[in-house]
Symmetry: C2
DNA sequence: GAATATTAGTTGTTTTTGTAACTAACAAGG
DNA sequence: CCTTGTTAGTTACAAAAACAACTAATATTC
């Protein structure tokens, strides 16, 4: 009658994922937050532009699986800080093309270095091969491979 | 000069962890949210009590790595719905011992079943052994093993 | 054993998020 | 064209989270 299988909260995947994500995000944020006061979505927008080149808010939202209002607000704040510019698109005047300013480029470069270091530090917690497998599984769970 | 190593946002662990966590949490919430209208922290408090027995808000916070104000508010709402009772502790009258009511037990049992099913469904996305490894790595990242 | 510091939990205020409704531009069908 | 529908992005309002300040009880220390 009573379930005696090994289900445990500490092994429940959504719970574990949340804990791990929160933990590493907090730890990572402690490194860069004070530096530039960027919110997570702002950080993401910055990285998308820095890493993949100019694009519209919509494209960022699609890639990052993030709702457009979140993107919109992040873009506003980044523009206010003069990290990005917004240029209305020629062919579709609803959309605007986002691009990093030199200042934004600088911030991106520095944050990217920090991210690489932090990532490498996390990687060191796993044996060779484990890290790659972990990333693959997470990508699958995140639906990034679809 | 230019970094040409393989760093990619789509492989950055904190980013991936967040995406995966958000994705699975949202999906899982869609299953139980409408059912009982529980918020995530409320769900967690309920599960801690159901799974590990009566304890104080503080203990739950420590186990779940959750801030006390979040726990406090979750406890209030659970008590309002008569899912838990709060009894002032004998030896320390600041603390109160939390316990599930029969109604709370019932909800917990049902939600636990749902959780087990969902977890099993996620597990099926991975080959034998991968799932266990994933959980282990996540526990390590979450700092649950310390 | 009074003064001080700590701890369990709550409450109030500010940020951030989620959701819906909105504007302006485009697309398609008649 | 001109009505109807869709899309990019914003804004307004409600829900939730973060953070700080608070109360009341307990520990500590001199």
């Amino acid at each position: 009658m009573t379930k005696n299988d090994a289900f445990d909260l500490q092994n429940f995947l959504p719970y574990l994922l949340n804990q791990a994500a929160e933990q590493s995000s907090l730890e990572f944020q402690r490194i860069y937050k004070d530096r530039y006061g960027l919110l997570r979505t702002e950080w993401r927008v910055l990285f998308h532009l820095g890493m993949y080149g100019d694009m519209t808010a919509k494209e960022i939202g699609a890639r990052a699986l993030t709702h457009k209002t979140k993107i919109s607000r992040a873009v506003s704040r980044l523009a206010q800080r003069r990290y990005i510019t917004r240029t209305r698109s020629e062919n579709d005047r609803r959309a605007e093309l986002l691009a990093l300013t030199p200042a934004g480029q600088g911030v991106y470069q520095e944050l990217r270095g920090i991210a690489e270091d932090y990532d490498a530090r996390l990687e060191r917690r796993f044996s060779r091969g484990e890290g790659a497998l972990l990333r693959m599984m997470l990508r699958r769970l995140a639906g990034l491979d679809d």
